[in-house]
């Protein structure tokens, strides 16, 4: 089997924030009843994480669970584990009304970090990114200029962002331009 590589193979740019493609990441879409104990147990088993509150993302090392909608989670795990993990969750939820799909190869992941990170995103998304309104752990599905994207504040000065793999170059270029030296607004 050929080696899988991510859309931009770790592209990186430095400006008012560091923008970096993070390579391959395992991602599993899980749709079902988020109040179900079976769903919570299946996710915890795999990631060691509890289900997130509304619009939040729980993270631990390479693992994450994000709240996507009232009936949808995104489970993040190391890329190499995704295939087996999908089967494992699907098996655990066999008797639930649920859908489990490995979407790892349909996505690209970026980190935006540094003092300018909030502003770099605020220029591209219709989201209030002030420190008071967007806190660590918060997860937001929105648009980045013309394409859908989702980001969360992983650490106080580090966002992680996902988009469709097919628009990875567009998103990288947006972030790079937004972070270009001299393009600081200085508001956030």
């Amino acid at each position: 089997m050929s080696d899988a590589i991510s859309a931009l193979d770790g592209a990186r740019s430095e400006g008012s924030a560091v923008v970096e493609e993070l390579g391959l990441r395992g991602m599993i879409t899980l749709r079902g009843d988020l109040s179900s104990k079976t769903v919570a147990a299946a996710v915890k088993n795999l990631t060691g994480l509890n289900l997130p509150q509304q619009r939040m993302c729980n993270s631990r090392a390479a693992y994450g669970v994000a709240w996507m909608s009232p009936d949808e989670l995104l489970v993040m795990i190391p890329y190499g584990e995704a295939e087996a993990a999908t089967a494992k969750i699907a098996g655990a939820l066999a008797k639930e009304h649920a859908l489990v799909v490995n979407v790892s190869d349909a996505r690209a992941v970026f980190a935006i970090r540094g003092a300018g990170a909030r502003e770099v995103l605020a220029k591209l998304a219709p989201v209030d990114l002030s420190k008071e309104r967007f806190e660590p752990g918060q997860f937001r599905r929105t648009r980045l200029a013309q394409v859908p994207a989702a980001f969360w504040l992983r650490d106080p000065d580090r966002f992680e962002l996902i988009c469709f793999r097919s628009v990875a170059q567009y998103v990288f270029d947006l972030l790079k331009t937004s972070a270009a030296p001299g393009a600081e607004v200085g508001f956030l």
Binding site: Q54, R55, M68, S69, P70, E72, P126, V127, R140, R141, T142, R143, P148
Partner: protein, 114 residues
């Protein structure tokens, strides 16, 4: 610019994060409907100056459909509510009446809720 709050995920955002879905609370005419009713279902829409009810989808967010009550003149949004209802709930009507004294659901459009 409209600012809507999605009742499904709680996000408040401006309209570019959403997609408009046209007039709300249509009755779906189907097999057995009269030609007049079927034509009205397909083509005829209210065009009120003032209070209106619409469907919206949180397209760049949680992906869910919901309803919004707003003013077509001022773009004021009176409230958003569940998609799983066939008429505006009382609490939404109360909010509209508070902002538009004398307004009544009975008078909306061509009298669907009269």
């Amino acid at each position: 610019m409209l600012i809507l709050q999605c009742p499904c995920c709680g996000v408040e955002a401006e309209e570019t994060e959403f997609a408009g879905g046209g007039q709300a609370h249509l009755t779906r005419e189907t097999v057995g409907a009269s030609e007049e009713n079927f034509e009205a279902y397909l083509f005829m829409r209210e065009n009120p100056k003032g209070v209106h009810f619409e469907r919206w989808r949180h397209a760049n967010g949680c992906g869910k459909w919901f309803h919004a009550a707003r003013c077509t003149v001022t773009l004021e949004v009176f409230g958003t509510y569940s998609a799983q209802t066939t008429r505006p709930p009382n609490e939404i009507c109360d909010k509209i009446t508070a902002r538009r004294p004398g307004w009544s659901l009975k008078d909306w459009g061509s009298g669907k809720f009269a």
